[in-house]
């Protein structure tokens, strides 16, 4: 992996933490499991978009279906210059536009308002269909949570996408194995995602969700003939902070004073930066 990209993601992890910590609320662990995926899409040249013109008609679209990963998206948009750090600094402040889940109101760089799970993929089906109707070469990318796949609307959308042969639709499944209260496969026993999505008519690929070279390579592979693509990105929830990794209790909480030191050490955050 490119050392520069690794360093950039470390900086973004720090930015996500400081923004969430100062805002008083964040889904840190979820953001850390999907950071490299969103970074690869926006920074490694996978998504065709114009940072100067977020509404460019022919752009590829990205929908964060697992909306609670919003801070990871905002941080990457800061890196690309679509969002300013000053704007991000208003996160959760009264009167600001930057909330805990992505919302299109006053934020043209966000493609879809999400937060309630199971909405992003169905909306993306419409976007990909719209691109097809217009004969555009553009694609629609979606980041989906593995816990989110418990929502029935995901499977309505999965059936429609394959039936409509939306080979311009690419879904990345953030397979971190955890949901809010438990492991995904202990909450509802899952037969393999691979089999499930393949049986719904999708081309399924696998990648390490933190290895940006692998991600890049997988995302750049051409789609299967007239089939939508699902990429299972194997990730670690809370990646980068050992205390948080693979533990569902970190789904929606910030560290207490004692735990804070461990976060600071892992993310190389000084006391001054916390002020």
């Amino acid at each position: 992996m490119n050392q520069l990209d690794i360093e950039e993601c470390a900086k973004l992890r720090k930015l996500i933490f400081l923004t969430g910590y100062k805002g008083g609320m964040a889904h840190l662990a979820s953001c850390y499991s999907c950071l490299e995926i969103i970074y690869t899409l926006y920074v490694k040249g996978v998504l065709r978009y114009d940072p100067q013109d977020p509404s460019w008609k022919d752009r590829d679209r990205f929908v964060l279906s697992k909306g609670h990963g919003a801070l990871a998206l905002y941080a990457v948009l800061c890196k690309t210059g679509v969002l300013s750090k000053k704007e991000l600094g208003t996160y959760l402040q009264p009167g600001c536009h930057i909330g805990g889940e992505p919302c299109t109101r006053n934020l043209p760089c966000i493609e879809a308002t999400t937060g309630s799970l199971g909405h992003g993929l169905p909306m993306a089906v419409g976007m990909a269909l719209g691109q097809k109707i217009d004969g555009m070469p553009a694609k629609t990318y979606v980041l989906l949570g593995d816990g989110e796949c418990q929502e029935g609307s995901i499977w309505e959308a999965a059936m429609a996408a394959s039936s409509m042969q939306l080979d311009n639709l690419v879904v990345i499944l953030d397979a971190n194995g955890l949901q809010k209260t438990n492991r995904v496969d202990e909450t509802l026993r899952v037969v393999s995602w691979q089999e499930k999505w393949e049986s719904f008519g999708w081309t399924v690929r696998n990648t390490d969700g933190h290895d940006m070279d692998q991600l890049c390579q997988t995302l750049r592979q051409p789609p299967g003939a007239r089939r939508p693509t699902l990429i299972i990105a194997h990730t670690v929830k809370g990646k980068g902070v050992p205390l948080m990794e693979n533990d569902p209790k970190w789904h929606f909480r910030l560290p207490n004073r004692k735990e804070l030191k461990q976060f600071q050490r892992a993310l190389q955050i000084s006391d001054k930066e916390l002020e």
Partner: protein
Amino acid sequence: MNSACIGALMALAEKDTRVLYLTADSGEGGLDKLFRMNFSDRSFNFGIAEQNTVAAAAGLACTGKIPFVFTAAPFIAYRAFEFVRDDICLQDLNVKLIGSGSGISVSSLGPTHHTTEDIAVLRSLPNLMILSPATPKQAEECIKLAYQHTGPVYIRIGMNKEKEFFGDGYKMEPAKNDVIRSGKDAALYVTGSILEEAAEAAERLSEEGIELEVVNVGTIKPFDADSVIQNAGRFKNFFTLEEHNVTGGLAGMIAEVIARNGLGVRLHPVGLEDIFAESYGTLKDMRRANRLDGESVYRRIKEALV
């Protein structure tokens, strides 16, 4: 009303390629085939999956399309409610939702197929225009109005060969009620295809010397509140008639106007009194069983006034 809507929709599709027809396997008595035959590349059946249909319509609107989702009213209003809220209304997208078989017009299938709370739940959604045509001509006008309006629209239509009350030259305007019949003794506000029962009741009362002003409410939201305010100076008694729960429906809307403006008039709601509709049979049978037919409405108004 279905055929009037499909006809109007095809006329729009003819001149604007952004117009799409989406359904969740509803069919509308085979009328969808007519659209598909003429515009095969702009007609999409998403299967029995209303949530995805509504959300995909939002996604299509994001790409500049004007999707008309045409499917059974209860499955739009209830099954897909959160998708209407978050994906269409919250994002203020240019999607048109046409709920067919609203009220109790799908009489024989029972309460799961009735739509007797849709006004109550959907009028609470910001950004959503709600239209409730009474006749085929008004349904046709609703489709045109929905197209002209940039933003989310819900149209609740009946499906029982409704009687026509409007002439060929009729034009519908948002937030403007139609006076179907002038009167001096009381006002009867009515919405949807049940207008014909209101007209029948008014005719019966007229024979007995009671003259009702019958006001048809075609646009639920925005609502013509001025009509109520002005009529409060003319009438002491207001009646409402709807194939809907009076809670949150037309009666609730008018009660809000009366209370907010301190109008000091008496409101007599006629509709479903916080119940699901009873019985089976034809629409006429159902209206009779639920005391919503012309004869019952006549009796209830007479009892209140005499």
